[in-house]
Structure formats: C-alpha cells, structure tokens
Symmetry: C2
Subunit: 259 residues, 2 copies
C-alpha cells in the first residue's frame, strides 16, 4: 500500500524567484506533494504584516502538466499563507516551510522576519511549520550544503510532530559541509539592532532617511542561537506565538492598579 | 526643586491624524514632555514591519512655539520609533506609548498590530512601553472614558518600572465609565482569525482578493484578556519579545537530530 505523500506548502519573503526558495522546493519535492505560494517581490523585514486595506492578486506560474503547483502573490508572506490555506489548497497542509532566507533570522531578527512570520502564521493556523535561513545575504549563496540537513530536519518534524503551538526557526552558518558540527536546539539570543540612518537629500533638496544598523549581541550564553552559529552548528529555536510574559504576572499583580 | 518631567515618545498605527492618538497626546501632555512621531497614513496590520528597501521621510508638523514637538513619518510604526530614537530625540525617552488604537489588539491580534509592534520595538531598545487599544473601530469612538485609566496605568509604570524586557498590551472594553470594573493583569487568550477572502474582479476582468475574517476565541480561561474584556475589565497583558518556547526545548532535545 502506498503511503500518501504529505502536502507541503512553501513560501518565503525574498520573492518567488529567489534561489533560496528554489533550493527549498527541490528538497521538499522529494518528500511530499508541494504547493508554492510566494510573494511576487521581495518582502524582507515585513514582519507579521497583513494586507487589510488593499487588494491581493494571485498569479499562477506553473503550467498545466507541472508536478508542482506554483503561485506568486502580491501580498506579504503572511498573506501568502492565508491565501494558500483558504483559496488554493483543497485540504490543510501537513507542513509549511518558509525560506530559505537569504540572510540570518537568528536572535531578535525573528521578530522582523517575513520568512519567520509566514511560519508563525502557519503555526497559528495549526499547521506544523519551519523557517529556514542561511547566514549569507548573497543572492547566489551556496544552498547545496544545506539540502541534506533541511531534509533531515523536515523528516524529523514529520515523524515526531512538533510540540503544540510551536514552530521552528532554523538558521545555517555559512560553512562548508565538513565544517558543520551538527544541529543544536537553542534559545533566541538577546540582541538588538543599533540603528544608523543615512540622511540624504533628494535631487529636489528634500531630506530623506535610509535605515541601516549594526547587530549587537548582548548575550554570551552558550545555549543561544548566536553561539551555536558562531561555533559551527545549525541552530534550531522553538518559537511560540503566545507572547505573554507569564513570569512577569506575579510582579505586576502587586502594583496598585485599582486604587 | 522641580522634578524633571519624563520624556514621553508617542506613536500609533492609525496615522498622525487619528483621534485615538490625539486622546493619548492630551493625557501624556499632563504627565511629561511629549514628542510625537506617527505614520503619515494608516498602518494597521503592519506587524513588526520595517522599511529597509526604501526611503523614509519625516515631516515636522508642529510650529516653532508649540509645546509639543510633532512629526509625521512615511514609514511603519516600528520605523517611527527607530527614527524618533535615533534622529529626533536628544536623549532616550523615559516612556513610549502607542495608540490609542481604533480597535482591539487583544489576544493573537498583538502579533499583527502595528500599535503593539511599535511598543515592542521600544521595549527591544530598552525603553519602557505601553500600547493602548479600544475595542471600537469607529473613527469617532469615545476616548474620553479611557483617559483617567490611561493616566493611572502610565503613572504606575513610571512609578514602579516595568519588569525587564516586558512591554504592556492594554485593551479597553467599549463601555461607559460606570460599567468598567477595573484593571486586570491577564494572559493572551489563544485565538485565531478564520479567514474569509472576498473574491472579486477588477473592471478589466482580473480576479483579486480582499482579506476579511472572523475572530475565533478558542480559550475559555478566566485569566485571559478576552475574558476580562468581555466581563467589563481593562486587560493588561505583559508582552515579551523573547519568542523562545523554553518549555519545548527538552522535548526537542530528545529527537534524533544528529544521527
């Protein structure tokens, strides 16, 4: 008896033509039935943005006999997941994978990342989800090295089932295969971007700003994703979408809120 | 000796002309020195989006002798906070308040909310922060009732100092003053939006989609923000930006990642 292949939804934030997405598709096509719904243009840094005040377009890219159904979408990565689940897929996918992102989504980057927000959206909708990112912003980065690890991580998730209301944030160091020490479960390092704005003038003389910044890791913990990546490991952080700081409740209950 | 007034940064996601923002400014002007940097157009549902691939403009709205320094910004709520801190304010603000949002940011809405993402961004940058929202989407909603409560919550935060790496998500029920039972510390209710897309056609015959949806609360807990709001309380949820699901680490460490 043939086992039914898992239905896998793939998205990203670098857009439908990104090499990282193509790498992810090639791995997933060997594991399951694949449907791709990805932004029609780069959506990096879009966080968990959704499009509520504007129209959304879907454009079917794949041809009639292609084995992989593929769409581009005019919206954000989160819009892609919502449209895929509600308008394209006939049943709930068994897995949603997002990426491979061109650049890091470790530490605090998880909160700005369109790639990870797509995975989180899938998680909210009860779909097991993984975001993959490579610490290399180059459009022509080496995604080949990652492929066996992506396959392994995906098969582990399909076999074991993720804990409830958890998605995985997977980051790969920019290393050759032999230099990768393995896969490590981590926590999100405490870090932030110290911004620098480039102040310039338009040809018409109006000031404008361009956001740049420097990533500052404030966390020396050896259980963090930053430590793992700096020491040759692939980092896997379980990410939740209950943002409640449960540990702070008791302290806040001691304040005089109602006097 | 005069006590130095706290420096308070105000932003929102409904845009600089929103009545909710004006209400918040009027309360804060009695407490501290106020600087406003708010989006020049509505930015609801923008989540933690930042503008990295485009220019940002600041437009000074206040006049030379106005007591409140006020700017509109072409970017997202998170951009507003980053620009305010790095380009406008001469020192780190003592508090950042965001809102008052026209509509709920309770439960899972916190993750889509531009209002709350601005507060979270301030928190990441080490600035105590509070997001305020009213369960009324009406542009002309009644913000007067909230004012004494906003003042009370703000003064408590300034007096007690927030726990580390925590911001507050405050939601107000749409009730008259006498019907409000008080302020309640809560956890984020488990809920999601079950989407409905309106599929329509452009005048040229191309399909497009418009996102709508129904909020579904899956959580009957009496310690949740949804319960509090439905029962006449103002809900206060401590929100964290370490998204690590620490409770899931042990389980994930039992998987065969490196075999």
């Amino acid at each position: 008896m043939n086992k039914v292949k898992p239905l896998i939804l793939i998205t990203n934030d670098d857009g439908v033509s990104a090499p990282g997405l193509r790498a992810l598709i090639s791995v997933m096509a060997e594991i399951g039935e694949v449907v791709v719904v990805a932004p029609d243009q780069p959506q990096s840094g879009m966080g968990h943005a959704i499009t509520t005040n504007n129209t959304l377009y879907l454009n079917k890219i794949s041809k009639e006999n292609d084995s992989i159904l593929e769409y581009s979408c005019s919206g954000t990565p989160v819009d892609c997941v919502k449209l895929a689940v509600n308008e394209i897929l006939k049943k709930k996918p068994d897995l949603c994978v997002s990426g491979v992102n061109h650049g890091s989504n470790s530490s605090i980057n998880v909160i700005y990342s369109g790639t990870m927000s797509a995975a989180v959206e899938a998680g909210i909708e009860g779909i097991p989800a993984i975001g993959f990112s490579l610490l290399d912003y180059d459009w022509n980065a080496d995604f080949e090295t990652m492929k066996p690890f992506i396959r392994k991580i995906t098969l582990e998730v399909l076999k074991n089932s993720l804990p409830k209301d958890i998605v995985l944030n997977v980051n790969f160091p920019k290393l050759k295969k032999d230099d990768i020490k393995g896969i490590k479960i981590c926590r999100q390092a405490k870090a932030l971007w110290v911004e620098k704005f480039y102040k310039r003038q338009t040809p018409q003389g109006r000031d404008y700003y361009w956001l740049a910044g420097e990533f500052v890791n404030q966390d020396k913990g050896e259980d963090t994703d930053e430590w793992a990546l700096a020491n040759g490991y692939i980092s896997v952080v379980p990410v939740q979408f209950d943002l409640t700081a449960h540990h702070a409740t008791q302290q806040l209950n001691c304040w005089n809120w109602n006097e």
